[in-house]
């Protein structure tokens, strides 16, 4: 039980953020986080430490998010942004948030592997090696996904302006 509590305490926030970044919806991110830890705690006796707990939890999160993504997401980034920084927004900051929201929407429309690689690497802050371990793919493949994802984002960002 102590191990499970430690797992929750150390990782719930990053799992929640990953869920939010994948789903773009606070309520669904909360729900996903609960599901991830429920599954993780049940699977804890079988966790043999072949990967780090974080990588393991991220994999569960990605799998569960893939399963849930069939339902359409609603845009609720503003709420998360307000919570991140409760100070009043200046006009410039508001525009920045709108840009962030737009790019986040574009990210969630990327092909699956590119989207997950972009989210893990650029938003979640994992290096390429950790991203590759989480996605279960070779590093060079992940680099290709990142490159393609970035190219697609640059292109779509311009196309929608």
């Amino acid at each position: 039980m102590a191990e499970a509590e430690r797992l929750v305490d150390e990782h719930y926030l990053e799992v929640y953020r990953l869920a939010l970044r994948l789903l773009r919806d606070r309520e669904r991110a909360i729900d996903l986080t609960q599901e991830v830890f429920y599954r993780a705690i049940r699977g804890l006796p079988r966790f043999r430490g072949e990967s780090t707990p974080r990588t393991w939890l991220y994999r569960i999160t990605l799998n569960e998010a893939r399963r849930r993504r069939r339902r359409p997401a609603t845009v609720r980034l503003e709420a998360a942004a307000t919570q991140a920084d409760p100070t009043a927004l200046t006009a410039e900051a508001a525009l920045g948030h709108l840009d962030a929201e737009r790019l986040h929407a574009l990210i969630t429309r990327l092909p699956l592997r590119e989207r997950e690689a972009i989210v893990l690497h650029y938003l979640q802050g994992l290096d390429v090696k950790e991203t590759a371990a989480t996605l279960g793919a070779p590093e060079n493949t992940v680099k290709t996904w990142l490159f393609r994802g970035r190219a697609r984002l640059r292109e779509q960002w311009g196309a929608e302006r």
């Binding site: 039980m1 499970a4 509590e5 929750v8 305490d9 719930y12 926030l13 929640y16 953020r17 939010l20 970044r21 606070r26 909360i30 986080t33 609960q34 830890f37 429920y38 705690i41 049940r42 980034l77 998360a80 942004a81 919570q83 991140a84 920084d85 920045g96 948030h97 840009d99 962030a100 929201e101 790019l103 986040h104 990210i107 972009i118 650029y122 938003l123 802050g125 970035r150 984002l153 640059r154 292109e155 960002w157 311009g158 196309a159 929608e160 302006r161």
Partner: protein, 94 residues
């Protein structure tokens, strides 16, 4: 004519998305997760046993109780109207 974002612009935008989604989780989430740890989990064995118990009850009900009830009712059904009539006679004001 649309213009693609440059690599630098994209980096700035990605950093914005990262910041915008780096907020704290709802305060209750951690509590909910920890409470969830304390709740008894239903193991596979428990679920299988529950299912087996339910099946046995259904079999007993279908194989013994229901036919027995039906036979009893078919045998003594005439008692019911007689008992009803007797009750009415007893309760009727004289």
């Amino acid at each position: 004519m649309s213009r693609q974002a440059s690599d630098d612009e994209l980096d700035v935008l990605l950093a914005r998305v990262r910041r915008a989604t780096a907020g704290d989780a709802p305060p209750a989430l951690r509590t909910v997760l920890r409470v969830g740890l304390a709740e008894p989990r239903t193991s596979g064995v428990t679920r299988a046993l529950s299912l087996a118990t339910l099946s046995v009850f259904a079999l007993i009900l279908g194989a013994f109780v229901a036919p027995l009830f039906a036979v009893t009712l078919a045998t003594v059904w005439w008692i019911l109207p007689i008992a009803g009539a007797a009750w009415i006679v007893v309760r009727a004001p004289s």
